[in-house]
């Protein structure tokens, strides 16, 4: 055969419609994904950790071979595509035969088939019509559907769960659905991160790649928080969110881990919760020179009136301070040794007094004299809620695929296609017998039991039919059996 271009599609088809190719591809997928679990993967690992785990040279090679991102590499995706192709082609190749088997069941036996079948019994009968009738009654009693087959010899055909032979196509189709969902998400889906402080509204998320993406609506965070167990481990993270479209609030929900907010196909998950490192407010006790004090809460750069003439402002906040040359400097962002600068303004005199508050060294504020004294009570740190945002338009295909696969597997593994043929035919020596044959596509030992049960039923029917002439007495056993049922 000359090798021409025409044969290439045929050859490709032949290669991929082969179960062996499919198995080889699966082995490659297994090896590739195993590799991806042994080597640290860039999308889920910090760059620092990677740098610590591998030498720069190794890392360069791993990157060059795309081994630090196996699951998004071209070769892995190609493998998955080829597996899908193989599933499709193998299924297409086998489908016509299976469909013929399904659509046109083999109902009428011939002598060749009768001698080759493994499960068979011959019962002697006198009259073919009577024998077949008895068998029909026995089948109906045991709950088998019965079909009478027209022909020279009176015969019956009965089967159960024929569709189970097609279940394997359901399973393969479901796998393709799942793949399709994954591909759609890979192309059209995206996921990113949104960090919101209470009161903040935003519509720009940061994608995994680092790029920004603008959403068609904005998300507002009303509040967020963390609840702890008695032992201090986190019990619950929550955020009160609202969706704003064109400045109007259209939806709101309090989300927790495991229960996201869904709007227009976008999902917002509670992913993290933490401190911003800035201060939200500081609580002070402000006391006039003669009189009882009151508690006030100051926010950064927001003046608060203490009386008609005096106002106080939190002018500066240093989370961790140190003093050198009588100057105050910041050492770190760790809010363990904070310093607050207060600005007290006397509107009558126009004087501005500066005070410092170092809670770690005593609660009283010190500095220039004012007509108030201030004592530190408490501070609230600013916090943020971290939302994972994802758009997965293909996920419904995935879930549909999962359900279909469950259904397909259940049918394929637990529903047995059982067939029974019955015919009144002459046996090898020419005597009239009721030939009973059966076959199952799996769980054969169980079927043998059922088959024996059926044969016994037919035998009993035959005996009662021949013992009693056709009269009312015949009805007797049927009634009792029906009663037992």
């Amino acid at each position: 055969m000359a090798f021409s271009l025409q044969f290439i599609p045929k050859r490709i088809h032949k290669t991929f419609a082969n179960l062996r190719t499919g198995i080889v591809l699966l082995i490659l997928v297994v090896l590739g994904s195993a590799l991806g679990t042994f080597i640290l993967q860039r999308p889920v690992t910090d760059a620092d950790k990677l740098a610590r785990a591998y030498s720069p040279n190794t890392l360069r090679w791993l990157d060059r071979l795309t081994l630090t991102d196996v699951f998004h590499s071209w070769w892995f995706l190609t493998l998955l595509t080829l597996v899908s192709l193989s599933i499709v082609l193998v299924s297409i190749d086998r489908f016509p035969n299976a469909w013929r088997f399904y659509a046109r069941p083999y109902r009428k036996t011939d002598s060749h088939f009768r001698s080759a079948l493994a499960n068979k019994v011959e019962l002697p009968i006198k009259n073919s019509e009577q024998g077949v009738n008895a068998a029909e009654r026995a089948l109906k009693k045991l709950g088998w559907p019965v079909e009478r087959i027209a022909g020279n010899e009176p015969s019956l055909y009965s089967e159960r769960h024929r569709f189970s032979v097609m279940a394997v196509y359901l399973v393969h189709a479901s796998l393709l659905l799942i793949f399709a969902g994954g591909i759609i998400d890979g192309i059209f889906g995206y996921s990113g991160f949104l960090m919101l402080k209470p009161g903040q509204t935003d519509n720009v998320i940061e994608l995994r790649t680092g790029a920004k993406k603008q959403l068609p609506f904005a998300v507002k965070c009303y509040a967020a928080g963390q609840e702890n167990y008695a032992d201090g481990s986190p019990k619950r993270w929550w955020s009160k969110l609202a969706v704003e479209e064109n400045g109007k609030e259209v939806e709101s929900k309090e989300i927790v881990v495991n229960d996201p907010l869904v709007h227009r196909g976008l999902r917002f998950y509670q992913a993290s919760f933490g401190m911003t490192g800035t201060i939200d407010g500081v609580k002070l006790l402000a006391s006039p020179e003669n009189g009882s004090g009151r508690e006030i809460t100051l926010r950064l750069n927001e003046p608060l009136d203490l009386d008609a003439n005096t106002s106080v402002t939190l002018a500066e906040y240093i989370p961790d301070f140190f003093i050198r040359d009588n100057q105050i400097f910041k050492r770190s962002d760790n809010p363990e040794n904070p310093a607050f600068r207060l600005q007290v303004k006397n509107k009558a005199t126009g004087e501005d007094a500066k005070l410092w508050l170092f809670p770690a060294y005593g609660e009283a504020a010190q500095g220039e004299k004012t007509n108030y004294t201030f004592a530190y009570r408490d501070m609230q740190m600013g916090y943020f809620t971290g939302l994972e945002v994802s758009h997965e338009p293909g996920q419904w295909l995935v879930w549909a695929g999962c359900l279909l696969m469950g259904l397909g597997l259940a049918v394929a593994f637990y529903m047995v296609h059982m067939r029974v043929w019955i015919a009144a035919v002459p046996d090898a020596r020419g005597k009239l017998v009721l030939w009973i044959g059966g076959q199952a596509n799996k769980n054969r030992d169980r079927f043998e039991q059922k088959f024996t049960e059926l044969v016994e039923g037919i035998r009993t029917e035959l005996e009662s039919a021949s013992a009693a002439p056709r009269s009312e007495r015949k009805e007797q056993p049927e009634l009792t059996l029906a009663g037992v049922k």
Partner: protein, 472 residues
């Protein structure tokens, strides 16, 4: 034919020998129970606490394991009856332990590796009884019960306090996912045991079992030596903080290791002892000389003795002692609880070698006790037909849950990836069997390989590969 000679020599007088083991096992069970009871009475703790129940389960499982193995060796029918009774009592105690924990925590015990092992052992014991009563595979307990015993011993060492659920675990899907996982893993364990039985019944060469057994034991010891052997013959084990009952953590992902002096050499010797039979096997095969296999069998004996010595030394040296650490100055305590998986590996190695000896001595008896090869082959396939849909359901439930928690149904996390690999391996088994007609030995290999992957997914990934699945 040295094996044949040994068979004759080891034959016990049928009646008295049959009772001897029963009496011994019975007495040890009673003795252990009484000692435990006295201990509880002295300490004044609650009798029906979870750890006591689990201890009872351990005693009865161990008794059952001894009897099942005794049945394997002598073929005494009565052993099986008592063994399954013992399994049933152990299962009852195990069930109570599960119920107790469930009641205390108000949720099913699925949230930590300890709780998962608790459920896994329960499923394994239940399935053993089912396999025995329903399918008539009586000897299977001699494989699954030692497995159960190893798991319960491991559990004694793992942190067992009831921890509140972290936010990500507070989901109904946790229960669905983990129930399916434990059921499918236990069914896979069963299919693996059945496949091994099949190999015995299928005239699989005893030498080949020798090779696999010593390969497995060698792998355990070589892995330990490769990762834990320190300079000057020490063995490094994890430091243990007795107060907080946890590893000593230096920084994110960094545990403190201490070095037990000289213990490393013992492990090297044990590794050599395990490799020797393997080498003898290969030499015997290469030269086509059967006498090497006889020597290899003797080497297995020596290897078991070495393993027992190493285990004893490990237990004595590591339990509640303080050693220097290479990372920081000063002495740090360690405990058996700090190295559950080293210990688990060692105990598994000893069991595997003992099972091999059982096979070596009593092969012909075993063959008459087991169902036919054909039945075993079919039952293995049936077990996988049950495990596979469960596995599928587990992955689907896990994906759905991940989608609600992490925002993505599939993130190629190592645990996920390995679950998918397990699924693919079993899918491969089914395809080869259904469309290619793989029966018998090749199918049995496949089933055993499948369970190997399951074990790696269950325990290996958690302890070797980093990922999101931190709590399991």
């Amino acid at each position: 034919m040295s094996t044949r000679a040994r068979v004759v020599r080891m034959e016990p007088p049928a009646a008295t020998g049959g009772s001897a083991l029963l009496v011994m096992v019975g007495l040890s069970v009673v003795f252990l129970l009484v000692v435990a009871l006295l201990g509880v009475a002295k300490s004044g703790g609650s009798l029906f606490s979870e750890s006591n129940l689990l201890y009872v389960a351990l005693i009865f499982y161990a008794g059952a394991a001894a009897l099942y193995m005794g049945f394997g060796v002598t073929g005494t029918e009565r052993y099986v009856r008592f063994a399954s009774t013992s399994t049933a009592i152990g299962l009852a105690a195990n069930t109570l332990a599960v119920a107790h924990r469930w009641y205390l925590s108000g949720r099913p015990p699925f949230a930590s590796i300890y709780e998962m092992l608790l459920s896994f052992v329960w499923a394994v014991a239940a399935l053993t009884l089912i396999a025995e009563k329903k399918f008539g595979v009586r000897i299977i307990g001699s494989i699954t019960m030692p497995l159960a015993v190893v798991c319960v011993i491991l559990m004694q060492l793992l942190p067992s306090e009831v921890r509140p659920l972290v936010p990500a675990l507070q989901s109904t899907w946790l229960h669905v996912h983990v129930t399916l996982a434990m059921l499918s893993y236990a069914t896979c364990a069963l299919s693996c045991a059945l496949a091994m039985m099949f190999l015995i019944q299928d005239d699989f060469k005893t030498e080949t079992f020798l090779a696999w057994t010593s390969a497995m034991v060698s792998a355990v010891y070589v892995a330990i030596v490769a990762t834990r052997f320190e300079k000057w013959g020490g063995l490094s084990v994890t430091g243990w903080d007795a107060k907080s009952k946890s590893d000593i953590i230096l920084g994110p992902g960094m545990r403190l290791f201490v070095t037990v002096p000289d213990l490393g050499w013992l492990f090297v010797i044990a590794a050599l002892g395990a490799v020797v039979p393997l080498i003898l096997y290969f030499v015997g095969r290469a030269r086509n000389n059967e006498s090497f296999f006889g020597i290899a069998n003797k080497a297995v004996f020596i290897s078991i003795l070495l393993q027992v010595v190493v285990l004893a030394a490990f237990i004595l040296r590591v339990r509640d002692a303080s050693y220097a650490s290479p990372d920081q100055d000063g002495l740090f305590p360690t405990s058996l609880a700090a190295s559950p998986f080293l210990l688990g590996g060692m105990v598994t190695g000893i069991f595997a070698s003992l099972l091999y000896l059982m096979l070596l001595w009593r092969r012909t008896d075993l063959e008459s006790l087991l169902p036919s090869a054909d039945t075993l082959d079919r039952v293995t396939y049936k077990a996988i037909c049950i495990a596979f849909p469960l596995l599928t359901g587990m992955i689907a439930a896990g994906a759905y849950w991940a989608n609600r928690t992490w925002g993505s149904y599939w993130s190629w996390d190592p645990k996920e990836t390995w679950a998918a690999i397990t699924w693919l391996v079993y899918a491969g088994y089914l395809h080869m069997r259904i469309t290619r007609g793989w029966r018998g030995r090749r199918a049995a290999y496949f089933a055993i390989l499948g369970f190997g992957v399951v074990i790696f997914t269950f325990l290996g990934v958690t302890y070797l590969l980093p990922g999101l699945h931190a709590y399991s």
